[in-house]
Amino acid sequence: MTDLVAIISDNWLLLLVGQYPNGPLGGLACTLILSILGIALAFPLSVLIALARTSKWRLLSWPATALVYGARGVPLLMIILWVYFLVPALIGRNVSGFTTMVCTLVIYEAAFLAEVVRSGIQALPRGQMEAARALGHNYLGAMWSVVLPQALYNVMPSMLSQFVSTIKETTLGYVINVHELTFAASQVNNQLLTKPFHVFFILAVIYFIVCWSLTQLAEWLERRIATKRRGVSTVRPAVDAENIVSPIATDRPVPVRSIS
């Protein structure tokens, strides 16, 4: 026990911010920045992909579906390797591990978030889109003003769950030497050498605290939204992303209902 305390008190700064200011920002700070960047950039992309998926034009829906299948049928590690190789090849110069990781996360998360957004759109009663069209609004106008505001609000808890997943996915940056939290922990381990269990246990605990707190927040949000929406439409309460079920198997399945 005293070992654990000693390790934490000696290395807390390294774990928190990496070698900053003597090096790039690392540790938990880097993990969180990676995750926030990843999901923030992925979000608008995911809305576009979700709209393309639900569109009736095959020119839009097929590539979008292929993208989603692809990103979800291939291990994240493979996608990292691809991005690590393709991005420098495409733009002609080397990119840092951090940039690679951000690009990978954006692509990967956009695919998953797209399914969450799609489930939100399809869970909304048909009548909303019908009423908007009956009043003379066009499809995109109705989407923007009527469907998306409701759908996105309803799936906020699922999106928060997806953020938690993103945090967990940043650990793969370790494999390409991104200075995030897991990398920092392995550095501590390499210094100490004799206490691997303690170091990695501390690492697990840190992740647990961060992810668990966010998951609790997501569940609280879900309860609040369910009560707010009870009055009017029969909107299904937003579900934890991992429990949404879909015929295309992935780890973020989605309910499929026909849309008008």
Partner: protein
């Protein structure tokens, strides 16, 4: 105002509308009734093309509704047709007055303050001016449906379509909605209503269409229809209603 000429619709093999031919004249109030599954809702939804037809002609205010047209032309046409849904379909994330003003601003390019004034006067007309700032979740079913009527009226349509407007309401709220519809009829609005409310039909309608299995079997004025229906299925329908 609305004319159907040999309109046919199929859902796969199921013949939902069979050679429907009828007219709603300007200023008329037509009630469409019949047993469930008769195609009444399908018929009214073809008028603003929420349902497609496979053959026949349907015109609204002189315009052919099912002719090939661009998306924006269809949107424009729909904005001239008032439609009230059975499940109201108010937009829950907008307040009552926003629900009413939103489409005139966005679709008809009305100015914001002009739209707001109009919305408030329409809400006054349906008796809900005091609820302008409330959200749909805070309103009862009857109140929500009245807002939905105001929302449709805000687009200044020459005719209003009602698809079972009171079927989803608790009985004590049916009256307030029918009262609004009655006052609209008295003001000369052309109306086509699918409804089970026979009292309303008897008092307000100019013409009753009885439908069964996709065809209009009888067209008559309310006095004749309710006293002496001609078609045997109409007779059975009315007697079923009475014995409840």
């Amino acid at each position: 105002m609305i004319s159907f000429s040999k309109v046919n619709k199929w859902y796969g093999d199921y013949h939902a509308l069979v050679d429907v031919t009828a007219r709603v004249n300007k200023g008329e109030v037509v009630v469409v009734c019949g047993p469930s599954g008769s195609g009444k809702s399908t018929l009214i939804r073809t008028v603003n093309r929420l349902e497609e037809i496979q053959s026949g002609e349907l015109t609204f205010d002189g315009r052919s509704v099912h002719a090939p047209m661009s998306g924006s032309e269809l949107n424009k046409l729909r904005s001239h047709i008032g439609f009230v849904f059975q499940s109201f379909n108010l937009f829950p994330h907008m307040s009552v007055v926003e629900n009413v003003m939103f489409s005139p601003i966005r679709v008809n390019s009305m100015g914001k303050s002009e739209a707001r004034d109009k919305a408030l006067s329409l809400l006054e007309r349906v008796g809900l001016a005091s609820k302008a700032g409330a959200y749909p979740a805070q309103l009862s079913g009857g109140q929500q449906q009245r807002v939905a009527i105001a929302r449709a009226l805000a687009m200044e349509p020459p005719a209003m379509l009602f698809d079972e407007p009171t079927s989803a309401l608790d009985p004590e709220m049916v009256g307030e909605v029918l009262a609004v519809m009655r006052s609209l009829a008295n003001d000369g609005m052309t109306m086509m209503c699918v409804t089970h409310e026979m009292g309303f039909a008897r008092e307000v309608a100019d013409c009753v269409w009885f439908m069964d299995a996709g065809s209009i079997l009888e067209v008559a004025d309310p006095q004749t229809f309710f006293k002496q229906p001609q078609h045997p299925r109409a007779q059975r329908f009315l007697s079923d209603l009475r014995t409840h």
